[in-house]
């Protein structure tokens, strides 16, 4: 039974609050809050994706497109038309939601590899548009001059301030999503994953629920895209390409897809691995990355969230044997 366990969530919240303060004291990790901002932005996307893939069982290889839609809507409306960034963020989410409905309604009727290909194609098409519509998007060179965020005169203009802003969003979305999972909606999603025939016999409108989750994941990705654009003050299409969609998939698999915690752990690990830790291996970085991925898939099929269970298993076995 999925009951909320409050303790880990409280520890999680405390960790978020304390982390920048601690890292400031240790020179070796003083740039970590900066990395954590990206981990947080990715977490927003992976939480939605985890709900879509791990719970509702629908694969999406086009999530980077929604991330990009959020970023570009925010960037164009602020940098070109000078609108309020918060307002643009909301518009970005609305646009992403509309696109998700248009794409999701026909696509989510497809299954397995066909759905994977359809979402992949959607992602590539959106990427091509970002790349080709030079007048709007600046093409491959990207758009600069995107403003930062501020609220009632308080500007989120330092790494730490932005860190708290991003993780405030992540934490809220996380709690919201956990609530959804434990509600009627969450049960319906898991039911669909298990058997579509039985779900519709229980009165669940299968196609509607799939679209709803798809839209939710698109909105979260769009939010993440806006936060990204306002933080970097610059965006270009290659951030939102197919390989990023695949990277998101890897985050989910690495963290563990049947658990929302896995989404955050996966985003965190991939961010740190690809932006910081693997730097040590220089030219071998790619190979090491691939090997780690393969080892995790083989030995931790449940992802990182499966480790406690495996450890428990090892421990129990020892006890029963000894």
């Amino acid at each position: 039974m999925l009951r909320i366990r409050k303790l880990p969530i409280i520890i999680f919240a405390l960790f978020i609050i304390v982390f920048p303060l601690v890292s400031r004291l240790i020179p070796a990790i003083q740039n970590y809050p900066d990395l954590m901002i990206f981990a947080g932005i990715y977490s927003l996307i992976t939480i939605g994706l985890s709900l879509l893939m791990g719970y509702a069982g629908q694969i999406s290889l086009g999530q980077a497109a929604f991330y990009g839609i959020g970023a570009y809507v925010s960037a164009i409306l602020t940098a070109t038309y000078g609108l309020n960034p918060w307002f643009c963020m909301v518009i970005g989410m609305i646009v992403a939601a509309i696109v998700a409905v248009l794409v999701g309604v026909p696509s989510l009727k497809l299954k397995g590899h066909y759905l994977a290909m359809a979402t992949l194609a959607f992602g590539i098409i959106v990427f091509i548009i970002f790349n080709e519509e030079v007048e709007w998007t600046g093409g491959p060179d990207g758009m600069s001059g995107i403003p930062g965020l501020s609220l009632f005169g308080f500007a989120f203009d330092s790494v730490e301030k932005y860190y708290y802003l991003v993780w405030f969003f992540v934490f809220s979305v996380f709690v919201f999503t956990i609530n959804v999972i434990q509600s009627r909606t969450g049960r319906a999603l898991r039911a669909i994953h298990s058997s579509e025939a039985a779900s519709s016999a229980m009165g669940i409108n299968v196609s509607r629920f799939k679209v709803v989750v798809f839209v939710y994941s698109a909105i979260l990705a769009s939010l993440a895209g806006s936060l990204y654009a306002y933080y970097l003050n610059f965006i270009n299409p290659s951030t939102f390409d197919l390989f990023f969609s695949i990277k998101l998939l890897i985050m989910i698999a690495l963290g563990g897809m049947h658990d929302i915690w896995g989404a955050i752990i996966g985003a965190f690990l991939i961010t740190f691995l690809s932006f910081e830790w693997l730097h040590f291996f220089e030219e071998f970085e790619v190979i090491v990355y691939g090997v780690i991925l393969l080892l995790v898939i083989i030995f931790l099929p449940q992802g990182m969230v499966g480790i406690p269970k495996i450890l428990k298993g090892l421990f129990n076995k020892k006890v029963s044997n000894g």
Partner: protein, 263 residues
């Protein structure tokens, strides 16, 4: 509701179904009266499950009309039909294996509750209260089908008999007025079969109409009020249980000649 429809909860009129040139059902015509147990028998491949799939909205019939309480439903989707009050079990048990026993039944309560995505995400007090009600109702149903003690086990871990009972419980949670049971006794041994029979009787006593597909003639004879026999997609007989049992066509197609051989 016109006069003719009165008391008939389900009317199937001239229903035919064609799969890629293959006639799975040919001009089927029958109805079920409120509160009765109606059994459908026939050899494998006779079209029984196809008929169930049409009634519960998995397929739309190629031709014909299905009326539930006088309202045509043959064009509706499965989840809409479930909402109207028709529920079913599956021949090849379709439980939500990744969920607990209790959760399976709670999913069954889906149609009879409402909650928006946003409300449940924000965990509004109203929503929280509803969850408690659903839980209580689901436990009640588990009590009824005799699985209350196993509420926290995963559905997949139950033995076959338990899974069959759970499927019935889950179907009951949708508060149906018509329940379609597809081979509830298949794979059960005789004691378990007897339990299943008495459960179906108890369901009937609650006033729920039951449509039953079953091969075990003992079960069929024990609990059904009326029987319809199908063969190669056609209705070959319909009537009270005793009549059907002695119908030569049914014996030839389905039961086999010798009474004693029946298992």
């Amino acid at each position: 509701m016109d006069k003719e429809s009165r008391g008939k909860i389900l009317e199937v009129e001239k229903v035919s179904m064609v799969f890629g040139g293959l006639m799975a059902l040919i001009n089927i015509h029958f109805n079920a009266k409120e509160g009765m147990v109606k059994a459908i028998i026939g050899p494998n491949g006779a079209g029984k499950t196809t008929l169930f799939n049409i009634i519960t909205g998995t397929f739309s019939p190629t031709e014909g009309v299905v009326r539930f309480r006088g309202k045509p439903i043959q064009k509706l989707k499965a989840h809409e039909i479930a909402e109207l009050g028709i529920s079913r079990t599956f021949q090849t048990i379709e439980l939500f294996g990744n969920m607990t026993v209790l959760e399976n039944v709670m999913v069954g309560c889906h149609t009879r509750t409402r909650s928006s995505f946003i409300a449940s995400g924000l965990r509004l007090p109203h929503d929280k209260h509803k969850e408690e009600q659903i839980r209580a109702k689901a436990m009640e149903i588990l009590e009824f089908v005799g699985l209350a003690e196993k509420f926290s086990e995963s559905a997949d871990s139950l033995p076959l008999g338990g899974r069959k009972m759970l499927e019935i419980g889950r179907a009951l949670a949708t508060e149906p007025t018509l329940l379609c049971l597809d081979e509830p006794a298949a794979g059960l041994n005789e004691t378990e079969t007897e339990k299943a029979s008495s459960l179906i009787n108890a369901i009937k006593e609650k006033g729920i109409t039951v449509l039953l597909v079953e091969h075990d003639m003992k079960v069929v004879m024990n609990i059904s009020d009326e029987i319809m026999a199908l063969n190669y997609g056609e209705k070959i007989a319909e009537g009270l249980s005793e009549e059907i049992q002695n119908n030569p066509k049914v014996i030839e197609a389905y039961l086999g000649s010798s009474e004693e051989d029946r298992a």
